[in-house]
Symmetry: none
Subunit: 209 residues, 4 copies
Amino acid sequence: MARRVDPQRHEARRLQIILAGLTVLAERGYEGATTAAICREAGIGSGTFFHYFATKTELVLAILELGTAETVEKAAALEGRTDPLAVLLELVGSWADDAADPRIPGFVRAVAGVMHLPAVADALAADDRAQRDLLLPWVERGQKSGEVRTDLLPARIASWLALLSGGFLERVATDPDFTVDGERELLLATARDFLVGPETQDGTVRASG
Amino acid sequence: MARRVDPQRHEARRLQIILAGLTVLAERGYEGATTAAICREAGIGSGTFFHYFATKTELVLAILELGTAETVEKAAALEGRTDPLAVLLELVGSWADDAADPRIPGFVRAVAGVMHLPAVADALAADDRAQRDLLLPWVERGQKSGEVRTDLLPARIASWLALLSGGFLERVATDPDFTVDGERELLLATARDFLVGPETQDGTVRASG
Amino acid sequence: MARRVDPQRHEARRLQIILAGLTVLAERGYEGATTAAICREAGIGSGTFFHYFATKTELVLAILELGTAETVEKAAALEGRTDPLAVLLELVGSWADDAADPRIPGFVRAVAGVMHLPAVADALAADDRAQRDLLLPWVERGQKSGEVRTDLLPARIASWLALLSGGFLERVATDPDFTVDGERELLLATARDFLVGPETQDGTVRASG
Amino acid sequence: MARRVDPQRHEARRLQIILAGLTVLAERGYEGATTAAICREAGIGSGTFFHYFATKTELVLAILELGTAETVEKAAALEGRTDPLAVLLELVGSWADDAADPRIPGFVRAVAGVMHLPAVADALAADDRAQRDLLLPWVERGQKSGEVRTDLLPARIASWLALLSGGFLERVATDPDFTVDGERELLLATARDFLVGPETQDGTVRASG
DNA sequence: CATGAATGAGCATTCATTCAT
DNA sequence: TATGAATGAATGCTCATTCAT
C-alpha cells in the first residue's frame, strides 16, 4: 500500500551528494576527502552516504559518469550543424570554460591521483572515449569539407584537441597567472592553427605521422 | 662515541629511497604508496626511512626537488648556445622523452592528487618556476633574433610550451594509442608552429592577448 | 480513524518473522543475521520488523519462548500415560528428531554465541527449567515403579538426559558422519542404560554422587 | 647487522594476546569481544593486535589451533600405555576437567556462534579430527584386548565419547547446579558403561547400528 | 499498519610515525 | 646508523533502530 521510493527525490539526493563530493574532492584530493567531510558538506549523516554509494570510490565513478553523460548530451545538441570547424572550436571553447569552475581542475587532479584503481582507470577511459566519439565525426566532416587538415587521421586530430584542452586545464589549475579569460582566445587560435594544419601552398606536408 | 656519517653513503641511501618512492608512487598513487611498500621496494626497514625523511610528504618533496634540480642542470648545459628556436624545441623534445619513462607520468598524477597540501603546491610552483626560468631567456633571445613570434610576452609563450608538454605527458599517460615515439614529431611541429606564430606576411596578428 | 488490529493476522505475521529469523540465525549466526537479512527472508520491510519486535534480541527471545512453549505442550500431551520409562525415552527420541531439522542445531549454536546477554541467558534457563519440569515427574514415577534407578536424585537424572540430548544435537551439528537416522537407536539404548542404572545384582551401586 | 625479532618474545606476546582473547571471548561472545576490549585485556595498543593477527577471526583460529595442538600433545604423552580402557577414561576425565576452567565452555559457546564462518568450521573440524585420532587407537586396542565393546565401529565409539564430553561441557556451562566436581565421577561411570557396552553374557547385542 | 530513507554510534582495520635496542 | 615492534589516531563502512509518510 505504502507508496515509497520517490525516484525524483532519490535522484535529487544523489546529485546533492555528488556535488558535495565534487567540491570536497576538488578541495582536498581523494584521501583528504573523507566520507565524513563529504557528508558534512552534503548535510547528511554518514549512513545516508552509503545508501547512495556503496564505497567512496563509487562516488568518484558517479561523478565521472556524470561528466561522460554531459559529453554525450553535448553531442546530441550538435545534431544538424553543418560547420564542422566552428563546431570543433566551440567544443574546445566549452572545455576551456569548464576550467573556469575551480572544482573541475581540482577534481581532475584528485582523480588523477587514484587512477591506479582499475575502476577509476576504466571510467576515465570511457570518458576519453566519449570525448573522442564527440569529436570524431566533426573532424571527419571537416576533412571532407576541406576545412580541416587531411595529413593526419581523424582519431589523431581528436587526441590532439584533447591534449590542448587537457594541457589548458592543467595550466589553469597550476599557474595563477594563467586564467581562462586571459588565455581562451589564444587556445582557440592555437586549436584552429592545429586543425587547419601547416600551410601547404607548396603542396608539401611539414609533419606526418 | 663519535658517529661519523659518510656523506656519500648517506646521499646514496637517500637516492635509493627516492627512486623506490618514485616507482611506488607512480604505480599506486600517494595513498596507495604506503611507507611500508616504499621501504620494501627500497629494501630497508621502516625505521630507516624516517632517518632520511621526516614524513612521507617530505619524500615527495625531495623527488620534486630532484626534478627541479635536473631542470636547473639542463639550463646550465645550454650555456653558450646561439640557436634559441632549436634550444626551445630540444627542451620540448626532452620533456616528451621524459614521458617515455612510465614512472614520470605516474608520479605526476600521484602528485597532482596531493596538490592540496601546501608544501606540495609550493614545490610544484617552484618546479614550474624553474621550468619557466629555463625557457624564458631562450624565448627572449628568439624574439630578439626574429625566430620567435613577438605578439606574445615571453612568459606567456613559456607557459604555452609548458601547456603543450603537460598535455602531451597526460595524453601519453591516459591513452594507450598515444605513444611518445608516434607523436613526438608532431609535438615538435606543433610547438614550432606555436613559437613561430601566425604568418604575418600582411603585418597583422591573428591572436593577441 | 479507529485502527483495528486483527489479532490473528498479527500473530500470523509474527510467526512468519519468527520462522524467517530461525532460518537466518541458523544459517549465519547472531551477528551474521542482520535485521535486513531477516526482513528479506520474511518478505517484509525493515520498519515492519520493529512493529513486532522492539529489538533483534527480542526476536531471539521469542524463538526461544516458542521452543519453551512447545516443551510445555509436550508435557500436557503426556497426561494420563502410565509407562514412565517409555515416556522418558520418547522424549529423548523427540529431541533427537529435532536435531534432524537443520535449523535447530544452527539456531542453538547461534544462541550459544550470545548467551552472555542476560536476557538470553534467562530465556535459556527458562527453557532448561521447562525441560526439567517435563522430565522430572516421569523420572519420579519411574523411580517409584522401579523402572528407573534410584541411586541418583530425579533432578540429576533429568540433567543427564538433557546432557545426552544436548551432546547428540551438537554432534549432529558438528560431524557430518553422525546422523540422526544412524544414531537415534544408539541414543535411546544409551539413555535406557543410563536410566536403568548399573546392574545391582549384588546390591551395590557403582556410581553415587 | 641489527639483531631483531626475538622469536621467543614474539611467541610470548602472541600467547598473551591469545589468552586475553580467550578470556574476553568467553565472557562476551564473538561480537561482544571487540578488538578494543581484547587489546585492553591484553594491555596492548590496537595496532599491536594486528601485528600478531591479521583479523579478529584469525585470533579465534589461533586459539582453536592451540587446543588442537594440546590434543596432539596429549596423544604423544600416552605412548607406551598398555591399558586402553583406563586411557580412554583418563581422556574423558581430562576433558571434564577442562570444563572446570570457566573460559573453556564460554569460548566453546562463542565459537559455536560463528561456526558459519568457513574458516572457523574448518578449524573446528580439524579439532574434532585430532580428538578422534587421539581416541581411535585406544578404542581399537581396547576392542582387541576385550575391554571395549565390539558391536560398534571404533570411529563410532570415539564419536560417542566426544558426545558425552561435549554434552558434559555444555551442561556445566548452562546449569549452575551441574558442576564438574559433582558430576565427574558419574561421567566416568557412564563412559565406562558405554565403552563396556551391553552385558552380553548371553551373547546377544542390545544395540547395533 | 507498512514502508524504507535516514541516522549515527560503533567497529575492524590501516598506517605514518616513534623509540628502545 | 639500522631495525622493526609498538602505537593510536583516523577512516571507511555496517547495522540496529527511528520516524515521516
